[in-house]
Amino acid sequence: MPDPILDIRDLTITARRRLILDRVSLQARRGQVLGIIGPSGVGKSTLLRAINRMLELQPGYRVKGEIRFHGHDIHDADVDPDTLRQRIGMIFQQPVVFPTTIAKNVLFGAARLRRLGKSERAALLDSSLREAALWHEVKDRLHDSALRLSIGQQQRLCLARALALDPEVILMDEPTSALDPKATEAIEERILAMKATRCVVLVTHNLDQARRVTDWVACLCADNGHGELRFSSFPRDGRASAMLSETSCWASSTPSSLRLFSSVSGGRRRLGRIAILSACSAG
């Protein structure tokens, strides 16, 4: 097995002295989709945001332990968080397009971070949109407002925008939870296509999605009021399937612990419990 691109060791995250994640260790390799599943509020998004140091933009969070990216701890003094975020791209739950044209959205990061000539811009626009499987839908209206795209197209536009920076790792925070089944399928197809050249870390609520697209899945549970790694395994392995379907992990996320975490995640996910129920039934 190749050396892991991401090697997370004993990662502990606290928010205002409250424990969110306790000693999580995980590895992610090139050519691999790492799935992170677990009930709402267990700290999956927090974990994801720690990997590209987005977490430090929010006050109150403290991170202990190591996150090694190509063997170097990303918290070392010589690591520039902005440069790190160019190499570790991120896709959010809700697609966020900027109020400008499709072309400018795709090049939003790249055109500001690199000096691009006219032909380079065109080439980058082409390759990024193709890799996000959006090229054929938008190639004739690159200079139209991106806000007119459907929400599924907007999410792929966000993907193209991240891909324009040619990141080695793509973090995806429940990228399909706002999308309809068809748009979800398009994103899942992209995830499978991207892993040839990149490493994908996918946070998802959806066990079926985890089975469909991940190569390795880590399950976070909140047994003691904070997130811990319950197990990690191949998602299609019989034992893993049984464990994934096992309800104790989901059930342990009682409403009280949900409430506990909703204060941290800003109560952002009112659908959390519904999602857990569907996850249980999906198993």
């Binding site: 590209n52 987005m54 933009l57 006050p59 902005d82 440069t83 790190l84 975020r85 160019q86 190499r87 791209g89 991120m90 959010f92 809700q94 966020v96 397009v97 900027f98 109020p99 939003f108 990061g109 500001r112 971070l113 407002s145 806000l147 966000c158 925008r161 991240a162 920076l165």
Partner: protein
Amino acid sequence: MKKALQLLSALTTGSAAAGVLLLAGALAFVLITRGSAAISPAFLTQETREAGASGGILWQIAGTLILVATAALVALPFATALGITRAWLLPPQSRPARVLGFILQLLNAVPSILLGILGLILFTGMLGWGKSWLAGGVLLGIMIVPTAAVMLANRIESLPRGQLDAAAGLGLRRGHIIRSIILPQSAAALLSGMLLGLARAAGETAPILFVAAVFSGATIPTGIHEQPVLALPYHIFVLAQDSFQEASRTNLWGAALVLVTLVSLPALAAIPMRHKLHNAADHA
């Protein structure tokens, strides 16, 4: 009960609106009836004669424009920097952010006459500028900063968090995010704040009383040291205080009418622009 409450709130809102309209209307009526007699092309293009009893207010208009333009140039960078610092660079709700917010409130509460005296000590005295347009412009600029900064900060705080996150997620640096997300989407609020502040500053007498304005004998300044200007509010102030001639009284109202028009024109012009900017920014 519910109906009575609705009626009461409708009445309160209605009477408040009527009150404001009445006040504005009355003010406009007084200004126009008393001042319009003075208005003529000559009034706008000639210099003052006979201590305000005849001639025009050309240099007062010029002086006010110079003061206001200077104030805008001084205030814009500071208001922008302070607004962004308070709403975005400092962690939201953190102690430094709250302290900065408090300082802005405090600055807003400083009586303008106090600013005038402060300017007298600092610019006229310590820096040795004497009476200078620059001192007046800087003091008026200081008056505008809190209004514009607070309006900008409030707008930045209401920007969709997702866009800032998405931009940070692309590895864009702070400077990039300020230029590409924050400023384009909050420029309208900054503009509103600047215009509100400028409108108030243009009519202020106290800050320019000691440091920048004279009643006569100044035109366009050519330097900083001992280069005062004439100004509309100061002109009105002196005429109101010292003049007993009917002609000066009419010219006083004429100057007031010009000042109010001067102040409201940019505000009116800005309405469609603000509308457009907000529409573009809020469309997301």
